[in-house]
Symmetry: C2
Subunit: 205 residues, 2 copies
Amino acid sequence: MSHDMSSAPTPPPRLARQLAFILELEQLKQVLRRSRLIGTDRRENSAEHSWHVAMLALVLAEYSAEPIDIGRVLELLLVHDIVEIDAGDTPVYDTAARANQATREQRAADRLFALLPDDQAATCRGMWDEFEEQATAEARFAKAVDRLMPVLQNYHNRGVTWHELGATLEHVLSVNRGPISAAAPAIWVYVEALLEDANARGYMA
Amino acid sequence: MSHDMSSAPTPPPRLARQLAFILELEQLKQVLRRSRLIGTDRRENSAEHSWHVAMLALVLAEYSAEPIDIGRVLELLLVHDIVEIDAGDTPVYDTAARANQATREQRAADRLFALLPDDQAATCRGMWDEFEEQATAEARFAKAVDRLMPVLQNYHNRGVTWHELGATLEHVLSVNRGPISAAAPAIWVYVEALLEDANARGYMA
């Protein structure tokens, strides 16, 4: 902010750190993904995407292959893209960018979660680590819905992003099969048919 | 979608309804609020706002005046603006628009949640009703954070939306005091000081 905040009211120190984090989160609305909103040319941002995949989890929880705590799934999805404020979005079909993604995102997590009071920094970092490590049923289901939404968007946008990134059916299947088929097998049956149909329609490279 | 979907793969009927709802949710990303993203002229959309207030709830839960189930608060906040797909956003300072807001939103809820399978339509409608009725601690805390975020945005944007809507300090205090002071009194102490400072800086009408 360029205007003089020197006389602005000062919250208690703990609340001040929480508000600093909350204000920083505003930046996630400016991080653009490769996906376009269905029926438009506008690129989706990571904040609205995070909301949408949380809704997917709420609606599709019954398809989880394992019992899940849906509240925990929601937490993981709400925080899973916050690191993109510093690291940017890394498309799953961009092999070059994915090579140093982990390093960039670890550095981002170190800075961003540390804005919070220490106890909450650890809690939120734990949510992000859990999503990344994929060691819990909640993290696996969260990743499945995170992969599902771009497939639906791309299909209904005639594969515009798949073409841009040169993604073939083989590549799209390999990126999505693992996360979706294990965590939500009944959804994978449909997604696999959708991807094959997309390829037959010329939506892929 | 204008292209021929006649040969598209058909999911099982229950999944088909769930996916129809999920695809409809894409529209919430096109519903514009009056708030601008901090430091920009871009109006915020209701999907990214929904994500942000869910994060506020996660970070600020300790300030709730009453014990709350944070998972339930997240659910209420994720669904609380879905009706705006049909009803549009209604600024809290727009008295004329607020007169028929309830009717417009009830009609929207009737259509939108009915896209889901009946059991889930009832569950999600119950979440929206709970937020609207303000009869639970979770609904009250959800509303408090929903009110807090636009205050922060407006303050850091030098009151651009307050000016546009002709909102005075008295009006802004009256809109926010009830929801925030009861559900999160320690946060209200700071917000009240912030609003008075905003007025002193000329950020209000």
